[in-house]
């Protein structure tokens, strides 16, 4: 790890300080930027939100508990920051904040495609803005930045990996990490693990292979690349493809931030849908390692285990949803676990040391595209439910049972919370040729479809409680955005055009605040000037809420 600015003495002092992990945890912010030791498995420093999920676990559970069920009625908007002076994004209309802002040293860092914002966390005033002009790529969304020391890392629609000075927003360097001409694009928030900046990519229009990279935080040079598919026939996993041609064009994008266990030194990442997307006839087999959760060594990029959530996917069910890490005692034994509510409609609980399944259970309807699960707990796809020329109806909604908005796990309730969509959709096959390309089909229909906030018991996979919002369509109802839980037993998420607070144990709706748009990112929290702040993005505006708006 290169840290040229530190003298030997201060380096030693820093080491001494950091050896006490609890102390380090309280000291997210060193004099210059973000101390990488602020990133921990199950602890968010109270004065910071240092990574996309707040900590490495992806639980989005905060120990901060000033705001309680008793005083939540006082919670109101302290400031808003509305993005101005940026026209609607190419082909995608209004500006929507999907990123979770980092908060380090009193500054919030967040993004939309092509733009990074640094905003004073106390006042909501803009400190700097970085504007980028892309030359292609999708402007679907941008999940945020990663931070290492004084440096910010940002990915552009056309595959540029850019390092900025957190103090000034000035560009340090840029590296090309994905080829937009092949229809790759990049949207994710980089994850920092030791001296690795981990970045994933998107893109499923042209049947390109997925990959995940580690890059050097100082130089931006590639340290390793892991491919979502085996590289040649004969390699492990290649037996799940009919030939090298289909395998090398099999998709499996890595477009959402993963999680990390420092003790096991394992990086957990979800891979996206298989390609061609809806037409599976040219790629018979399970199609590893697309639609999987993979555990990688972050120093080498070598895969340690995998679990495939949607084998031989023909429904565009990217298995990228956050693999959430938590520890739990089961039958008197401490267990290191991982849970994911997957887009294919299954809730998975795995042993994160080895990928062995504890629970695989549908969490919306029956997941009728599968005929149950195999001996490893992986769903078995029903060939009769693959897309058809005349349509094949599944009891999973068109965009999946859930999607990218981050879920949450509370160690207090032992419940996993996810915003879901329940309903039926029909998948059509358009390209009937033996070797189709691109999407090759599509999904449509929203039959008896509604959103719901679901609390899942991680010991049984059962739905403990469910909140189905009132109203539909133009009337105004619907859950939105990601989820934050806190040690005060509160859950924050979007409901209709409001930020809403629920009781984590009962699901009771306790409070709400109307916003100018529905919640569009995952809410986060930290303490400033002794006050707990709740931060949420809704459309083009970021909001800070505190007790009494103070």
């Amino acid at each position: 790890m290169k840290r040229p600015s530190l003298t030997k003495l201060t380096h030693l002092a820093a080491l001494a300080m950091l050896s006490a992990t609890t102390m380090a945890a309280q000291q997210a912010s060193v004099s210059v930027g973000l101390n990488p030791n602020a990133l921990q498995l199950f602890h968010q420093p109270p004065d910071a939100w240092p990574t996309y999920n707040g900590d490495y676990s992806g639980r989005r559970f905060s120990a901060i508990k000033q705001i309680t069920a008793q005083n939540i009625q006082d919670l109101r908007i302290k400031w808003k920051y509305k993005i101005t002076g940026i026209p609607p994004l190419r082909g995608s209309g209004p500006l929507i904040i999907k990123s979770t802002p980092l908060m380090v040293n009193g500054v919030l860092y967040f993004t939309i495609p092509d733009h990074v914002f640094a905003v004073d966390a106390r006042s909501g005033r803009e400190k700097w803005r970085f504007d980028f002009e892309d030359h292609g790529g999708h402007v679907l969304g941008q999940r945020g930045v990663g931070m290492y020391g004084k440096w910010i890392y940002f990915l552009t629609p056309d595959g540029w990996f850019i390092s900025l000075d957190a103090e000034t927003g000035k560009e340090r360097w840029r590296k090309k990490v994905a080829d937009e001409k092949l229809q790759y694009f990049t949207t994710m928030a980089a994850v920092i693990v030791k001296n690795h900046v981990i970045i994933g990519i998107g893109g499923d229009a042209m049947d390109v292979p997925g990959y995940l990279e580690a890059r050097d935080p100082e130089t931006g040079e590639m340290q390793w690349r892991w491919w979502s598919e085996p590289q040649k026939m004969g390699d492990p996993g290649s037996e799940t493809w009919p030939n090298e041609q289909s395998m090398r064009h099999g998709g499996g994008m890595t477009w959402l931030p993963g999680t990390y266990d420092p003790e096991l030194n394992l990086l957990y990442w979800g891979t996206g849908n298989t390609n061609p997307v809806f037409a599976g006839q040219g790629r018979k087999g399970a199609n590893l390692y697309t639609d999987s959760i993979v555990a990688l060594n972050p120093d080498t990029g070598k895969m340690v285990w995998y679990f495939q959530g949607s084998p031989h996917d023909t429904h565009d069910w990217d298995n990228v949803e956050t693999p959430v890490l938590f520890d739990l005692e089961i039958d008197g034994k401490p267990r290191k676990l991982l849970a994911q509510a997957a887009r294919c409609g299954y809730f998975f609980v795995l042993d994160r040391t080895n990928g062995k399944s504890l629970i695989s259970k549908p969490f919306t309807k029956t997941a009728n595209w599968s005929k149950g699960v195999d001996e490893r707990g992986q769903p078995i796809p029903d060939p009769n439910k693959e897309p058809k020329v005349d349509g094949s109806m599944v009891d999973v909604a068109s965009n999946g049972a859930t999607n990218w908005p981050p879920p949450s796990y509370s160690p207090q309730t032992k419940l996993f919370y996810v915003n879901a969509t329940e309903g039926y959709s029909v998948a059509y096959l358009y390209d009937t040729s033996p070797e189709p390309e691109g999407y090759g089909g599509g999904s449509s229909g929203a039959f008896d479809t509604h959103s719901s906030l679901i609390a899942l018991d991680v010991l049984t996979g059962d739905v403990r409680w469910k909140h189905i919002p009132k109203g539909e369509g133009a009337e105004g109802g619907g859950m939105s955005g990601g989820i934050l839980t806190t040690a005060a037993g509160l859950l924050f998420t979007g409901d209709s055009d409001r930020l809403a607070g629920f009781d984590t144990a009962s699901g009771q709706l306790l409070w709400s605040q109307r916003l100018d748009h529905h919640v569009s990112n995952g809410p986060s929290t930290w303490v400033m000037d002794g006050q707990q702040n709740i931060i949420v993005g809704a459309g083009d505006t970021l909001y800070a809420l505190t007790a009494g708006g103070r």
């Binding site: 042209m206 309807k365 020329v389 390309e437 008896d448 919002p469 539909e472 009337e475 109802g477 209709s496």
Partner: protein, 310 residues
């Protein structure tokens, strides 16, 4: 499968921005039949303007058809960042040249044969407007078995490049995808039997469904209509304010927090949702009960049958 030429019907992407008045207005102005068909033409990203669709899942743009002036790039093309729109006239000329000169090795629609797939070729994908492809054609790669096409004119090499760009456009721009509109399965007689057994308590093919096949001639639109024939737009509701006091009207707004009802005299009233009881007639109860029971064959048979009712 993407067809050879770009359909005159262009498609645009619309973000589902639920709270935007403009979009609501657009939806309410659009005939239901068009909406039903529109939702069926496109990709994974689509969904109908689903009443009650959750926002949690709305990560992707929803594509739907919308006639747009010819020659302009459609919004899905712009959104997907596909760059320059291929020259359709040149591509059409290039198609004939391709069939004469290239198809034997590179296969139908350039999807590969004994020679490589050209739609996935890095060289072709990196070509902007013939500057890579044309010299390549002129020179060939004799050592790899790719002959020189120096005999073609410059204009012909350009046309060939445009043809390849058009094939890429048709594969990559899922906003242009279109269902064939032809059914390949289903049995009308079996559909008639299913209808008699499950549907006649509410519907009649000589009554409410007379001529339904003429109204929804597109099979996918008909299937959607069978599965979930929800009428969009405001719902009727009765708001029970307290015992003995209830109002009936149109739901203007309804969520976990506020309920706004427009009554017959045109006035609106708003209550905190927790303070009232809202009763909404469930017109689709029968359809809801059938959804988990249908096999795909049932739906295809029913579709075939109802399409015969012109």
């Amino acid at each position: 499968m993407a067809s050879k030429i770009i359909h005159s019907h262009r498609f645009v992407i619309l973000w589902r921005t639920r709270n935007e008045r403009a979009q609501k207005a657009l939806i309410s102005r659009t005939p239901a039949s068009l909406l039903a068909i529109a939702g069926l033409c496109l990709s994974s990203a689509i969904a109908l303007f689903g009443s009650g669709r959750g926002l949690a899942a709305a990560q992707e743009p929803e594509l739907r058809s919308q006639p747009q002036s010819a020659g302009q790039p459609d919004r899905s093309h712009i959104f997907l960042g596909l760059g320059r729109v291929p020259d359709a006239a040149a591509a059409k000329r290039g198609e004939g040249l391709y069939q004469q000169n290239c198809q034997a090795c590179h296969g139908a629609k350039a999807r590969g044969g004994i020679g490589p797939n050209l739609v996935r070729s890095v060289l072709v994908l990196h070509d902007e407007k013939g500057e890579e492809i044309a010299p390549f054609l002129k020179e060939g790669r004799p050592q790899n078995g790719m002959p020189s096409f120096a005999q073609l004119t410059e204009a012909q090499r350009y046309d060939l490049a445009e043809y390849l760009h058009m094939e890429i456009e048709l594969a990559a721009n899922r906003g242009l995808y279109k269902h064939s509109g032809e059914m390949s399965s289903g049995n009308a007689e079996k559909g008639k039997q299913y209808f008699a057994a499950h549907c006649t308590s509410c519907h009649s093919v000589t009554g409410d469904l007379a001529g339904i096949g003429g109204k929804y001639p597109q099979p996918a639109a008909m299937l959607a209509r069978i599965a979930w024939p929800n009428t969009r737009g405001p719902r009727k509701a009765t708001v029970i304010v307290r015992e003995g006091k209830e109002l009936t009207g149109i739901l203007e707004h309804y969520d976990d927090f506020e309920t706004t009802l427009k009554t017959g005299d045109g006035s609106t009233m708003t209550w905190p949702t927790v303070s009232v009881k809202v009763e909404i007639p469930d017109k689709l109860e029968g359809h809801r009960a059938l959804l988990p029971k249908y096999s795909d064959d049932d739906l295809h048979n029913l579709t075939r049958y109802l399409l015969t009712l012109k």
